[in-house]
């Protein structure tokens, strides 16, 4: 499957490089700290946060446990509302379906709303190979695309670029893609946003095909939901004549009413807002308003393999809010690129190795890209126990055992003893020789969570009993967090 960044070094190596890049670290530190402070405030406004979180968890779990039924319901409802449903088992199938649909319109360019699923399958590159140009329209995605770069954060993909770099990219590259940046562009954010507005507007106005993902698909009504801030989503969803939405099969919720949970928890967890500026909901096509043709491509691409794992399947509850990235001490220092996939941070560490398998060096090392501090679990609006899944995947890497790949049951061999140990040790040493990252990880030994008593079997034992493990302070994570606000006082 595609989606691995080609030539990507395994996590510890990539992280080491990133940690040495001081601009990157400065940008990341500023960004993640800003968001997480605001998020805590937005969440504190809701007295029933715990109940909303629990309801979200249960809705998603229930849907996943009966996913076949709900997918059939989605198909029926979308079709009844005038849409067409396609099924794609993997990235190649999805890309081929989309390319074919675009060709049938006779167009050779499309406008795109930021979507993790289309990034995961490498849709832009696949379209390019078919002679179709895909324009990213989210400001951050535009920065990434113009800078021939890779996204580094789910929500703020250009989080690793500061305003000066963005100005330079706009001034240098916009002309080659369409309307050039205005003369004398400065690095004021408002001016940069205005440059993007002008550059993209001409593309929106002439676009005949739009491509999107979706945050939610409601089974009972066939409604798709896209949550956004800038309005580029609305442009792509309403101005073109043809709309193609590529959506992972885990995005389904059973009922209209279920949205009342996620429309409260998602904006607060992700952008720390009571509500994001724009949310679009559409059901099939509407006469005289918006696209005349609507295609929904339901994407598997490793999701059913993930679903087959009774411990790991909870990762499919993820609503991609990115709260776990912003609290992760490892992410804050290593940055998104070190994770070698479109899904960075704690969620990436449990999702990528499940979607892609643990065959490659980067995927085998991802479950170790964590100090198991548990901050990700605390903030997750659907209560994914990321540390539990990490430990589970570590076991799988070192011990091997039954798993599902491409829909087939397989028995994984233990990663070659020494190789696994080396990967683990490298990751461990990387985290443990960084006081900041480590301090956040001390709860590893003091937590009473269920993964704690397990020691890693086989070569992993050497890791868990590592001589590199420093003494564990008694202070629990949360106290530490409040006292230092994420290690601000530590030396990095």
């Amino acid at each position: 499957m595609s989606g691995t960044f080609v030539g990507m070094p395994a996590f510890p190596r990539a992280a080491r490089t990133a940690v040495r890049d001081t601009t990157l670290r400065g940008n990341l530190r500023h960004a993640t700290r800003t968001i997480r402070g605001k998020r805590a405030q937005a969440v504190a406004e809701l007295a029933d946060w715990a109940e909303l979180r629990e309801a979200g968890r249960r809705i998603k779990d229930h849907t996943l446990r009966h996913l076949d039924r709900y997918l059939e319901q989605v198909e029926e409802a979308v079709t009844a509302a005038g849409g067409t449903v396609h099924w794609a088992a993997d990235a190649d199938e999805a890309n081929a379906i989309v390319a074919q649909l675009v060709k049938e319109t006779g167009e050779s360019e499309v406008v795109k709303v930021k979507s993790m699923a289309t990034q995961e399958i490498g849709l832009n590159e696949a379209l390019e190979a078919e002679g179709i140009r895909a324009y990213e329209t989210d400001l951050a995605e535009l920065i990434v695309q113009l800078g021939r770069d890779r996204p580094s954060h789910i929500l703020v993909p250009a989080i690793h670029r500061n305003r000066g770099e963005i100005r330079d990219i706009f001034a240098r590259e916009m002309g080659a893609w369409g309307r050039p940046a205005p003369e004398g562009l400065t690095d004021r954010p408002a001016e940069l946003a205005e440059a993007a507005r002008l550059h993209l507007r001409e593309k929106f106005l002439r676009a005949k095909v739009g491509i999107s993902g979706a945050n939610f698909v409601v089974a009972e009504t066939g409604t798709l939901v896209v949550v956004e801030s800038e309005g580029n989503g609305r442009m792509c969803l309403t101005l073109p004549e043809t709309l193609i939405s590529v959506v992972g099969i885990e995005k389904v919720v059973p009922t209209w009413r279920d949205l009342e949970v996620f429309l409260q928890t998602l904006p607060r967890s992700s952008t720390a807002e009571r509500m994001n500026p724009y949310t679009s909901m559409w059901t099939g096509t509407t006469d005289g308003d918006g696209p005349r043709a609507f295609h929904l491509v339901l994407l598997d691409n490793g999701r059913t393999d993930t679903l087959a794992d009774e411990v790991g399947r909870q990762a499919l509850r993820c609503i991609r809010c990115s709260a776990c990235l912003n609290v992760c001490p490892v992410y804050e220092r290593a940055g998104g690129h070190a994770y070698g996939s479109v899904y960075p941070g704690p969620i990436g560490a449990i999702l990528s190795p499940q979607l892609r398998g643990t065959g490659s060096e980067i995927d085998a090392s991802l479950p170790y890209a964590s100090s198991l501090c548990g901050a990700c679990y605390e903030v997750c609006p659907v209560a994914i126990d990321i540390p539990e899944v990490l430990v589970h995947l570590r076991e799988r890497v070192v011990r091997g055992g039954p798993a599902t790949r491409d829909g087939n049951k397989v028995v994984l061999r233990p990663a070659k003893g020494h190789a696994a140990e080396r990967a683990a040790m490298r990751a461990a040493r990387w985290a443990f020789t960084r006081p900041g990252a480590l301090r956040a990880g001390q709860r590893l030994a003091s937590r009473t969570r269920r993964f704690h008593p397990r020691t890693l079997p086989g070569p992993g034992r050497a890791w868990s009993a590592s001589r590199d493990l420093p003494a564990v302070p008694a202070e629990p994570f949360r106290d530490w967090w409040q006292r230092t606000r994420g290690g601000k006082d530590t030396d990095r």
Binding site: T34, L46, D48, E51, A55, R58, I59, D61, H62, R65, H66, L71, E75, A81, H86, A88, A89, L139, I143, R163, P189, A190, L192, A193, R197, R201, L205, V218, T221, S229, E230, G231, N232, R234, T238, L239, I249, P254, W256, L259, V261, L263, Q264, E273, R274, M275, P277, T279, S280, M281, W282, T283, T286, D289, L298, D300, T304, L307, T404, G407
Partner: protein, 215 residues
Amino acid sequence: MSGRERVLGRVRRALADVPREEVPYEQAVPRGYLREHGGRSVAETVELLAENLADYRALVHRCTDTGLPSLIAGLLRRHGSASVVVPPGLDPGWLAETEVTRVADTADGTPRALDGVDSVVTGCAVAVAETGTIVLDGSPDQGRRRITLVPDHHICVVRVPGQVVASVPQALGRLDPARPLTWISGPSATSDIELDRVEGVHGPRTLEVVLVTVR
């Protein structure tokens, strides 16, 4: 085998451990969360809506139905608008006191033509106090989705208290999923550049919400 059969087959095999007759949906999801946050009077709910709209940089105005035409005329004038898109079902009285050029919202209009229009005036389907959100559902007084997207200035009229609800759960209960819905909370914004919030990337850069008390 078709993609459909393959994907559904994989899903079913992946769920081999799940008993088919599990707890039904109705019992699987505890709804212990609140229907609204805090008990407010109707007037307080409207007040909260105004506060939260303003907090996300919408410009909030209040008037009675008799004062509405002159208020709208004044807003268009202050914005320097020469033209305004008018949804087919908009109360003609709302624009009675302005001279600006009316542009009809029609199926054969193009996005490019809309790009040349300065403002748009619409009603709304419902407004949510706790989040400072207005929701449009494409009814005749709101028009096609694109008319509130391409022009740079949107004036949205909310009838209070009738169209105001406290919370997101209450709003969803009032909306029809079969209609195309747009939830708007403040003008468009981005925080993509060093997390500095910048208003107005692609949608209307100015959002004015008029809370009109109907007598």
